[in-house]
Amino acid sequence: MKRSLLLLTLAGAVAMQSCKMKTTSSAVTGDAAARTYVAPGKYDELYNFVSGGFNGQVSVYGLPSGRLLKLIPVFSVHPENGYGFSEESKPMLQTSFGFVPWDDQHHLALSQTNGEHDGRWLFANANNTPRVARIDLTTFKTMEIIELPNSGGNHSSPFLTENTEYVIAGTRFAVPVGNQESALDNASYKKNFKSTASFIGIDKNTGQMNVSFQIILPGMDLDLSRAGKGPSHGWFFFSTYNTEQASTLLEVNASQKDKDFIVAVNWKKAEEYVKAGKAKKMATEYYHNTFNEETHSASSSVVKEVLTLDPEELDGLVYLIPCPKSPHGCDVDPSGEYIVGSGKLAALIPVFSYQKFTKAIADKAFEGEYNGIPVIKYEAALHGEVQKPGLGPLHTEFDANGNAYTSFFVSSEIVKWSLKDLQVLDRVPTYYSIGHLMVPGGDTKKPYGKYVVAYNKITKDRYLPTGPELAQSAQLYSIEGEKMQLLLDFPTIGEPHYAQAIPAEKIQAKSVKFFDITKNKHPYLSAGEKATKVVREGNVVHVYMTAIRSHLTPDNIEGVQVGDEVYFHVTNLEQDWDIPHGFAIKHAPNAELLVMPGETATLKFSPIKPGVYPFYCTDFCSALHQEMQGYLRVSPKGSNVPLKWGTGTEAPVEEVASR
């Protein structure tokens, strides 16, 4: 968040308290509680996937209750279940710069078919170390993470085309391509720095991602983006700031020009150029990590080249539309005709028309060029401006009735306006300083509507104080009537940016209950207790262990020495829903494992001192859960204690079947 915005906000908040801002009691009317109450044992109407911001994860809430259902680990390690600590999951966080255990997760996109959410996958961006992840919505697990080459700050991502042909990754921070160094001054920025828009192709059956091509744009900050839809399908639109091309004090230097740009990319044209061999192969290196549901293990591959397209050389690939005052949101309405730019420092909202935009191209209604790319005349593409809507427009979502809902950070409100005549229809305060907002399906061709959710940056006095660091919040409003109505607010974990919501029935029936153990192809699977064993290979010790209510096998292990690397490969033999077993061992410096039914997971432990190390199940599994424990004996290095393991006596009748 920019400091100037913060200052403005505070000033705005003070100013408003005297006039506009309602109190909680007057803002919430009588039946709000009944409309958000989901009785014990009942389900919510919608899944709400919310970006975690600086926690790097995705959280899942139920709407309208605001109940937290799950935290999905994506870009940050998660000691709670071993994500990023288990041997199987470590490759998910590998990059060309090594293991990166954290990121900043901003935006989410549910996969679409014909411009509607289909409930298959959820895509998430990493803003810091540029990556895109794919989460499977049958397991709510991160299945794939792809790194982006030639990118600094993957902010305008992971927005999708209407049939999930591509997920987009656009650079917030322009950087020299190929990880080159450069002097840091404005002249060097202009010369060396580039922005890139990466089109990641998605396999329509598996969801597998691959960077199809990259468009190399002049250095500037690509902020947010949206695909065209319906008539504008085939185009991608990005908002930009810092078209001044400053490398320093952007707060001032990137706010010099009256207008920056909406960058319009014709990706169908890009496909044609790639097909015609006009793309250049560039040597690079980036990681592509995938999780295999059968081996319950992730693996990484390294990709060595990327196809690039240069819009200065390739006609008709990119056009620029002037847009006032460092636009942030760049949102396309359900019909695909209107593109709404939201200048962070503007006091109006420009709405562009796709039809007028294409006519302007045909008529060559250009006002000039920017780094060799045609700039369309502002008025030629403009549908109109929403006048005096509020201060600091950020993002816009849509309902199915031709209305738009724009968040205003500075004036801390949501404003409803009409796409047709650009008249403001209603406004409600948010508590406080809204960033993103989300109408369920509000970015698709067929908004589900019913609610708009505000994701607020500042909560100040809204909840019981918890010291200097406070929760961010979400606020749920009904949009069923002409006037928006505040129903509920609830604190969130991490910092929510963009979110998605989908009717529960599109996901809940497909939810996986457990992994079929007969399909488990983990190389260290113990297929039943008889398959458990301990194997020494030099100083590496593999423990093949099983977990079932309520014992671990083997649970007494001797013969391990200081200096050994012990791998506990724990297979959960359960085949029942909601019976994970945990595994933790004393003094392990990493984390625990949570092993789902039918799954195998591995914790590495390298004892540094002799002794006896208790291990146990951490997830309460039965009345005898407390008994689910065991011991590892660690002897000094060079000890002659033989390798020995077991759980009680061996089952005496081994060969009944052959009797």
Binding site: P40, G41, F514, D516, I517, T518, A527, G528, E529, K530, A531, T546, I548, R549, S550, H551, T553, L573, E574, Q575, D576, D578, I579, F620, C621, S622, A623, L624, G648, A651, P652, V653, V656, A657, R659
Partner: protein
């Protein structure tokens, strides 16, 4: 999960304490919350020797089907023998020796495939839960796998 799984157990434990029939007196447990008794049946159903479930008539073959015995052993090794010995010795669950004499084939098949309803309603299954104190996991055996395990149990009991 925890409460759902635990409630019937706790309830059973409380009933037990009152009757004094337990081999293993439960430690002092908090009373289950009174408000939500949705998981607790008022009374076990009257004992049906065939148990509760879809299997009402399981035809047995003589001699034993050796293919099924082998398949049953493989399934049991993967999913069952962590808790059940082939002898009469109780491990987590009861030993398997003699089970085909104690129970009907239908009861065994129903218990394997309809675990939760059996544990919640069948008097015999509930009596075992009182002894073992761990709910048998539903290991999601197919009907075919359950039948194969039954054949393996028959072999284990020396049937032919």
């Amino acid at each position: 999960m925890l409460l759902k799984q635990l409630l019937p157990v706790l309830t059973t434990a409380l009933i037990l304490t009152a009757c004094g029939g337990s081999q293993k007196p439960p430690a002092s447990q908090p009373a289950p919350p009174a408000a939500d008794n949705s998981m607790v049946e008022d009374k076990p159903a009257a004992a049906d020797p065939k148990g509760i479930g879809k299997f009402r008539d399981v035809p047995l073959t003589h001699p034993l089907n050796e293919g099924m015995v082998q398949q049953g052993k493989a399934v049991a090794d993967l999913k069952c023998t962590s808790c059940h010995r082939l002898t009469g010795e109780k491990l987590v669950g009861p030993g398997w020796k003699g089970v085909t004499d104690r129970r009907t084939p239908e009861w065994i098949m129903n218990f394997i495939t309809n675990v939760d309803e059996m544990l919640d309603k069948d008097a015999e299954a509930q009596a075992m839960l009182e002894t073992c104190m761990v709910r048998m996991p539903n290991q999601n055996l197919s009907d075919e796998d359950a039948r194969a395990v039954l054949e393996f149990l028959r072999k284990n009991d020396g049937k032919n």
